[in-house]
């Protein structure tokens, strides 16, 4: 386990170094993504201004929600963007080189690539959470809760990304299918949490865990809800274990399309 972690950290370090070589492009991606994310804040602030507070959700909560979302997206898709490229790897036959690697397959794929724009997401997420903390005048325990919830939210996001990527082994045009599935998961995670009531809340918490990424964490911090904290901890671990099982089961379906190359 430690050996795999050490390898992952080494791969991430090398990826960052390689990406930072093209300094202008790196900085443009970071700044561009951070600016791009502001759009969601503008959107939902106007939404609340027009619609009013739904289910007790305020502008501050929306900022917190976008903070959690961006941070999860940034962490998973900066250092682990390889998992999002799995469909391309399988389609081109490049997946063979991962199969032949003696390292852990999932770690090897996830850390195969790096996205500079993910750093922009991370910076944006941290700023949003900082603003959220000051807007709700969070106490020490609430700040601790935010820090405690980030790994669980990231775990859920990563687990769902792995499950969606597993589709790559089942379809030919998997890239577009996985994009569609990813939108299905991520669209509700960006929406005002107060709108999810009754059946909708159940579906997007237990069946499609979109709300576990940002909505539930914000509600836990706001209401200091221990019940929801327990729920997210259990569900995050469940989704993570389940996604790994799904991934390795799906790998068995892989058929190489390689034309005698080692991929790119």
């Amino acid at each position: 386990m430690m050996k795999e972690l050490k390898f992952a950290l080494y791969a991430i370090k090398k990826n960052i170094q390689s990406s930072a070589e093209l300094r202008t492009s790196f900085l443009m991606n970071v700044v561009g993504m951070a600016l791009n994310n502001i759009a969601f804040i503008i959107l939902w602030v106007f939404f609340i201004k027009s619609v009013g507070n739904i289910g007790g959700w305020t502008v501050a909560d929306i900022i917190g929600l976008q903070g959690f979302n961006a941070l999860c997206y940034g962490i998973v898709f900066s250092v682990g963007i390889g998992i999002r490229k799995l469909a391309d790897y399988t389609a081109s036959g490049s997946f063979d080189r991962f199969m032949l690697s003696p390292k852990n397959l999932l770690v090897r794929i996830s850390t195969a690539s790096f996205s500079a724009s993910g750093i922009g997401d991370i910076i944006f997420g941290i700023i949003c959470l900082g603003i959220y903390v000051s807007l709700i005048q969070a106490n020490f325990f609430q700040v601790f809760l935010i820090l405690f919830l980030i790994p669980f939210a990231v775990l859920v996001f990563f687990a769902v990304s792995v499950m969606i990527a597993s589709v790559s082994f089942l379809f030919i045009d998997a890239s577009s299918i996985s994009d569609g599935l990813f939108w299905f998961f991520s669209t509700p995670s960006m929406f005002d949490g107060g709108a999810f009531q009754g059946a909708m809340r159940f579906i997007f918490t237990f069946l499609i865990p979109s709300l576990l990424v940002g909505t539930i964490p914000v509600e836990i911090v706001r209401d200091i809800s221990m019940g929801k904290l327990l729920l997210i901890s259990i569900l995050a671990i469940f989704w993570f274990v389940f996604s790994i099982k799904i991934f390795y089961r799906a790998v068995r379906k892989y058929e190489s399309t390689n034309f005698m190359t080692f991929g790119n």
Partner: protein, 281 residues
């Protein structure tokens, strides 16, 4: 009289020759999409994953607000969101990324040396690639939404269909020009993705995707009206009551941006071509 007839024949021949390339591209791509329906399945999945989820969420938001927000009812919001996402099935925005790829990989050198205009080929290809999915999804979506949510009264007026088609055509041309400008930037800055994200988000916000224009505050509504980002998505305005009186003004705004961006694309492409050196081989 004979000279007039001859010149008219020559003119018609020229027009038909010009239309030969687009017709060939579109028919080939439609045949391809019919033969391989996976793209349609993916587009349908995409529209379900975003549009249907959003419509469901707005349904619950309107229910919580006793059916009316900002003087608008759910039916208008649902149709506005549907029109936005149906239009997005054309994937016109992808032209920027594809052009960037052509430039980064050097493929543009080969394409520029062909006897057809690179830009017109790219634009027609982009339009043709999404046309089949757009038609099927729009027709099916209209039936499903009509049966579940109902049709707003504004859709029954005589000018609705002709003006809808007109604003779609203008929206397509404007979107292609807008994203072509971003694609052409790759001749100077290579990685245009950060610019693409910002423009794309401006289109997303001002076009009325997640927040329909009926729910916009007055200032934002004005920005959406007078900027090219909002103008490219005027299809979402067609279902509102104001469309009957404002449609010519909105189409006028679209035409203005089309003219301006058309001139800009022309000169930008001219400058860009000077930066390319075809090495042959």
């Amino acid at each position: 009289m004979l000279i007039l007839k001859q010149s008219s024949d020559i003119f018609m021949k020229k027009i038909l020759k010009k239309l030969k390339l687009p017709a060939k591209i579109i028919t080939t791509l439609i045949k391809d999409r019919i033969q391989y329906p996976s793209r349609l399945v993916v587009d349908t999945l995409g529209i379900i994953s975003r549009c249907v989820v959003l419509i469901f969420l707005y349904w619950s938001v309107f229910k919580l607000n006793n059916g009316t927000i900002n003087g608008t009812t759910f039916i208008f919001v649902a149709w506005s969101i549907f029109f936005y996402f149906a239009f997005s099935v054309l994937h016109l925005r992808d032209i920027a990324r594809l052009m960037m790829q052509d430039i980064q990989t050097g493929n543009v050198e080969i394409l520029l040396s062909k006897p057809v205009s690179y830009l017109s080929y790219k634009m027609w290809w982009q339009f043709g690639a999404g046309l089949y999915s757009f038609l099927i999804i729009t027709i099916l979506g209209t039936i499903v939404l009509g049966l579940t949510v109902g049709f707003p009264a504004t859709m029954g007026i005589g000018i609705f269909i002709p003006t809808l088609i007109l604003t779609i055509v203008c929206g397509i041309i404007l979107s292609l020009y807008l994203y072509t400008i971003i694609g052409l930037l790759a001749f100077w800055i290579q990685d245009v993705l950060p610019v693409f994200w910002i423009v794309d988000k401006a289109v997303m916000i001002l076009g009325g995707s997640y927040l329909p224009i009926a729910l916009f505050p007055p200032l934002m509504k004005k920005i959406a009206l007078y900027t090219p980002f909002g103008a490219s998505q005027f299809i979402t305005h067609t279902i509102y009551e104001t469309w009957q009186t404002d449609w010519y003004q909105l189409v006028g705004i679209q035409l203005f941006w089309i003219f301006l961006f058309g001139v800009f694309v022309y000169f930008m492409f001219k400058k860009a071509k000077q930066k390319v050196s075809v090495n042959g081989g």
